[in-house]
């Protein structure tokens, strides 16, 4: 019964989305309040119905109802409960359902919490959101129905893949989707503004919280995904420039640019058409990601089951939404008035450089990701674009960006005093140089770029802290005064400091773990000792252990440093007899200074395993944990900014009693 309820609820959601696509839009152009207000209730209705459908599917997974084809293909009665639940979004159909659920959640979010947004803008925005929703709901129902039934049900499900049984993997898609589908609402705001023909400071401020929310989730999703690849997959790396990673990274880069350009629109009424373009493109890149992951267009390790027909349908949706919005843009953007002027040295100019670099970097990643496709189409040659391309193009663009990031917050709007800024930052520049030298003294070796990067990162970290210190007059005035100032500083300012510092922290992690990573792949026998990054790792052999549903070969590694015992590592190779597959469980000793990471590779030959000889892979990744710490700071910074009260200023309620402007007392 529940699956059928889910099916019907999904059909109702599509019906609701259709109404919401038309009525509020018409209402906004005719000034019909009733029709505009209908956007609010229908957005919530959509969320409720899609929520019911999602719950119904999840219920089918939880009780292992094998009359639902999707459950048969993606679950098994013996799976642990957590992975049964995660199976709900593990397949193409289920993940698409999650996609539309999140789409609806952002629509309903604006409907519920957007009371500061004027009716007409809200109605148009929600209508545009409903267009997207209509497209994807029909895609879901017509080509990938998650509630397809089979009767009589097969005895048990088909999927017991132990590799996919992982907490990180179970949590990753929802978070990533939350971010990248979240940009849909920003897109809807932009299209609504184009239709309305009005983009100003107020618009930028109303959109900002939604951009921030989407950006935070996307940051979290990407960080979690790379954390998963690093800790669970046993690949010994946190980023591979895989197409699927790239398609989530591109919206992040462009979303970051959008976050900054919207500030200029808000404060100075400038960059308007650029901000709108960024909003459209950010979501377009998210759609592109959905398309690439589901169409089998590019080679990737994490792609879904390939189906060109579905690909064609999504391409159609893409064509309509991206092509349509950009055509509207081409028509309306030239009419937009330019905003306030600014000097070549000013906050605006700094943010302009930020935007240009981020947009170029996005373009580079896009080009690198799609280059194999272009080449194949034009010449028939198959090429692959790997990390060397991205490292050679992306990093040189990021370094100047980081330098500007250190200076930017010191610049004032319109016209800034660069000399004064440099005077303030003299010592920090010196500090950065010294840091690079100190690193060289300690590390000796590694690429020159790494030292430059260290200097620039130190620069960013301390310039950011210095800017914050200047604002609260740290050490200039008595402590009580400093605290008062810190409390009075807008939350958004604290958020910026935290996020910028977070990026610097994460960058230390990037640099440390890529430039000074050590790796040994060796053939060992019991008693062999491997030296790596100052550690002595002794291999004490492999024993066979039994787990709940697997048998494992567990290696024992005694780690010591300068004769002193540090820890024992137990990497495993597990084989699951029922699922007939093998997984590698790496053993990691994790500290702030770096991770010592060991995994057992397959025995060199069948006979080698009997003699106790194994291939062992040992890695030392310095500072890698700073990546996750820095990412957390980025997210917290976003959250801090989101809580700024200024983001809630908006339309005064005519009927309200408290006065014309809803400004809460401080």
């Amino acid at each position: 019964m529940f699956p059928e309820i889910g099916q019907f609820a999904l059909a109702l959601a599509l019906g609701t989305a259709l109404v919401q696509s038309v009525l509020p839009m018409l209402g906004a152009s005719r000034g019909n309040v009733l029709w505009m207000r209908c956007a609010r209730s229908s957005s919530i209705a959509q969320l409720v119905f899609i929520g019911i459908a999602f719950a119904a599917l999840m219920q089918a997974f939880v009780v292992s109802d094998f009359t639902v084809a999707n459950v048969v293909e993606n679950s098994h009665s013996l799976k642990p409960m957590l992975y049964k639940i995660a199976g709900t979004w593990g397949s193409h159909e289920g993940s698409l359902l999650l996609w539309v659920l999140i789409l609806a959640a952002f629509g309903a979010g604006v409907a519920l919490f957007g009371s500061n947004i004027p009716d007409a803008l809200k109605a148009r925005t929600l209508s545009v959101q409903a267009w997207i929703s209509t497209g994807f709901l029909s895609f879901l129902l017509l080509t990938s129905n998650p509630f397809e039934r089979v009767f009589p049900p097969p005895l048990d499900g088909n999927d017991l893949n132990p590799l996919l049984q992982d907490v990180g993997l179970a949590m990753h898609p929802p978070l990533l989707y939350f971010g990248y589908v979240g940009f849909s609402i920003v897109f809807s705001f932009a299209v609504a503004a184009l239709i309305e023909g009005r983009i100003d400071a107020a618009w930028a401020r109303w959109v900002r919280p939604w951009t921030l929310a989407a950006w935070m989730s996307l940051t979290a999703g990407i960080a979690l995904g790379s954390w998963w690849a690093y800790y669970e997959l046993g690949w010994g790396g946190w980023w591979f420039w895989d197409p699927v990673e790239n398609v989530s990274f591109m919206p992040w880069l462009l979303g970051t640019a959008l976050l900054h350009s919207a500030i200029v629109t808000e404060k100075r009424d400038a960059f308007k058409s650029w901000t709108i373009l960024l909003a459209i493109l950010t979501f377009s890149l998210s759609l592109l990601g959905t398309f690439i992951v589901r169409s089998g267009l590019l080679t990737s390790v994490h792609a879904f089951a390939v189906d060109p027909e579905r690909g064609l349908y999504i391409l159609g949706l893409l064509g309509i939404s991206i092509g349509g919005s950009l055509t509207l843009y081409a028509w309306r953007a030239p009419a937009m008035e330019g905003g306030g002027l600014f000097a070549p040295v000013s906050r605006e100019a700094g943010l302009l450089i930020n935007n240009l670099l981020l947009a170029t970097a996005t373009g580079t990643v896009l080009f690198g990701t799609l280059y194999p496709l272009f080449m194949e189409a034009l010449t028939g040659d198959k090429v692959s674009v790997g990390p060397p391309f991205f490292n050679a193009t992306f990093i040189p663009m990021m370094l100047p960006l980081v330098v500007v990031m250190g200076i930017g917050p010191f610049l004032s709007w319109k016209r800034a005093d660069l000399k004064g800024v440099f005077q303030r930052l003299r010592f920090i520049a010196l500090l950065a140089g010294l840091a690079a030298l100190a690193t060289w003294y300690v590390a000796r070796g590694g690429p020159a770029l790494a030292y430059l990067s260290v200097a620039i990162t130190v620069w960013l970290l301390f310039a950011t802290l210095r800017e914050w210190a200047v604002r609260i007059r740290l050490f200039d005035v008595p402590l009580a005064e400093t605290i008062r100032r810190a409390r009075n500083l807008p939350r958004a300012a604290h958020g910026m400091t935290l996020a910028h510092a977070g990026l610097a922290v994460a960058m230390f992690g990037f640099i440390g773990s890529s430039a000074w990573k050590s790796e040994e792949i060796v053939f060992v026998q019991p008693g062999s000792v491997i030296e790596i990054a100052g550690f002595d790792v002794r291999f004490d052999g492999v024993e066979r252990v039994r787990g709940p549903n697997y048998i494992a070969d567990r290696g024992t590694l005694a780690v010591s440093r300068e004769g002193e015992f540090v820890t024992t590592l137990y990497p495993e190779r597990r084989s699951y007899p029922v699922a007939q597959s093998t997984t590698t469980e790496s053993a990691i000793r994790s500290t702030l200074a770096g991770d010592l990471y060991a995994s057992l590779a397959e025995p060199a030959s069948e006979t080698a395993a009997d003699t106790g000889a194994w291939t062992l892979r040992i890695l030392y990744e310095p500072l890698v944990n700073l990546i996750w710490i820095g990412s957390t700071m980025l997210i917290l910074g976003g959250g801090m900014s989101l809580s700024d009260r200024r983001l809630r200023v908006g339309v005064p309620r005519r009927a309200s009693r408290s006065g014309p402007v809803a400004t809460p007392a401080e």
């Binding site: 059909a11 609701t16 109404v19 400071a201």
Partner: protein, 385 residues
């Protein structure tokens, strides 16, 4: 029960969509006022920043004058439209009611209301049955293995067949292996053994299986299963022509319709396609459908050796297949004639007429002296078309 839920969902959809009606008299919030509020807040903020010394007073003045300029421009740009239509409730009503209607229509296309939800936990009977069978086979195996006489042949074969049904082909083969060399083994057992061996190798005929097939054929050359697997073996060894010939000759030898013919035909066509031979159809071999113009009353009588139900099913399936094929390939005039005849025999006058009408259209291009034209006319007039 399900429909009650559907009704509740549908009604809540209508209710949610109609909710705005409850708040009648609402006035549109003004875009202009919103922009003014935001700018006013920016003014406050500049003041606050200046107060705290975050920006100099010059900067503050410049910023404030800019914001004020923007405020002025806003006010010049004309005030709010001021028109707030609250009418046109009917549009909302109509759309709200269309939603469940639309959803219902869509659901009839996609849903399967008749299929019950069957949680895994509720299927203990089925699982218990499975466990019981496994247990029984285990016990049977035990008994057979411990039988000092080596166990009765039927017992081993039963065990093997049970394993086959469970998909444990290798076990099935090893169970049967115990008895196929015995004196009381018959050709059918040996061919079943070959089948188990082949299934265990995912359809590949191993040399061992080939030996068993040969033996089965030696014991009884009319054993269809043995001929079938012999053909598969020939095909896999590269002698597709021989394989095809074998299948066809075996079909030709058949005395009457038999259940194995269908699978022979499918296999023959699969092999035939690869080596470019004309596809064959069941009608060409089963006497009841042999040759145009289709099954005669006599042919149907010939099929009457089968039980009443079997015969009906046999005829039905044959006619349906022909109809399906014609739906895909409607240019086959003779096919339509046969179909019309078959429906006539089955007493389905309407369908027969449709078939003859289709034939009539195709026959339009034929010379007028073609005998088929004549028979179409006759049939149609008989059916009153």
């Amino acid at each position: 029960m399900l429909w009650v839920f559907f009704a509740v969902l549908a009604m809540s959809a209508v209710a949610m969509l109609l909710y705005p009606l409850l708040r009648s008299g609402a006035v549109e919030t003004d875009r202009q006022a919103g922009a003014v509020a935001v700018l006013a807040d920016q003014l406050h903020e500049v003041d606050r920043d200046a107060e705290r010394g975050l920006i100099s007073s010059d900067e503050a003045e410049a910023a404030k004058s800019e914001i004020k300029r923007r405020l002025l421009k806003l006010n010049r740009g004309g005030s709010a439209k001021g028109r707030s239509v609250t009418g046109a409730r009917s549009a909302l009503w109509i759309s709200a009611l269309l939603v469940p209607l639309f959803a219902g229509l869509l659901y009839t296309q996609l849903g399967s209301p008749g299929v019950p939800a069957v949680p895994f936990a509720d299927r203990q009977d089925e699982q218990a049955e499975q466990v019981r069978i496994t247990e029984l086979t285990g016990r049977l195996l035990d008994r057979l293995e411990n039988d000092p006489e080596g166990g009765p042949t039927e017992g081993w074969m039963l065990l093997g067949q049970t394993y086959m049904r469970m998909g444990r082909y290798a076990d099935a083969a090893s169970a049967m292996e115990n008895v196929i060399e015995r004196d009381d083994a018959v050709s059918a057992m040996v061919s079943q053994y070959a089948e188990a061996l082949i299934s265990a190798e995912d359809g590949i005929v191993t040399p061992q299986a080939r030996k068993a097939i040969r033996r089965a054929l030696d014991m009884d050359s009319s054993n269809p299963a043995a001929s079938y697997y012999e053909a598969i073996a020939l095909d896999q060894a590269g002698d597709s022509e021989d394989a095809h010939d074998l299948l066809i000759s075996r079909l030709e030898q058949a005395a009457g319709p038999a259940p194995w013919m269908e699978i022979f035909i499918a296999q023959a066509n699969r092999i035939g396609e690869a080596i470019g031979r004309e596809p064959v159809s069941l009608a060409a071999f089963a006497p009841m459908a042999g040759g145009a113009p289709g099954p005669t009353r006599d042919d149907v009588a010939a099929a009457s050796e089968m039980s009443e139900d079997d015969r009906a099913a046999f005829i039905r399936s044959m006619v349906d297949r022909l109809a399906d094929r014609l739906a895909e390939d409607p240019d086959d005039l003779d096919g339509w004639l046969r179909l019309g005849n078959a429906y006539g025999v089955l007493g389905e006058a309407d369908k027969a007429r449709e078939a003859y009408e289709a034939a009539d259209e195709l026959a339009a291009d034929l010379p007028s002296d073609d005998p088929r034209k004549q028979s179409i006319r006759e049939a149609l007039s008989e059916l009153g078309g």
